[in-house]
Symmetry: C2
């Protein structure tokens, strides 16, 4: 079995309203941080390793918006 993780992030330059809100709260709490960006992970399990092109197709159809987001996959074997 394989565990695939998809990491979805907003592209640089795309306004991250949720990140802005979190940043503001963290700063109010006294943390000296900047450039907060919120992303999403989608994890799932498959019997066999997924082909790169199937992953790419699945990603752009269902998991992310290529106009404003990027996606990265990592695949790990589950013993």
């Amino acid at each position: 079995m394989w565990k695939t993780r998809a990491y979805v992030r907003l592209k640089e330059g795309v306004l991250d309203a949720q990140g802005r809100a979190v940043e503001q709260v963290l700063k109010q709490e006294g943390y000296d941080i900047s450039d907060v960006r919120i992303g999403k992970t989608i994890e799932f399990v498959t019997e066999t390793k997924m082909e790169q092109d199937i992953l790419r197709e699945m990603g752009s159809k269902l998991l992310f918006n290529p106009l404003i987001e990027t996606i990265e996959f990592s695949e790990d074997f589950l013993p």
Copy 2:
């Protein structure tokens, strides 16, 4: 400068309604996948590397709900 990434996941056994919904759609589309779990990443930049205990405090105050979620941090140096 340092980039910290926080990965927030629902604990095993906690119902992931969003994951269920994504799983159903992926299966309808013909993808043979299971155990879909949706998580969240929070990335931010700091001038200096953050201390582990500050991260832990910040995490449990603001970034995740320890009752139902787990959090993991990774820190990378930005040249």
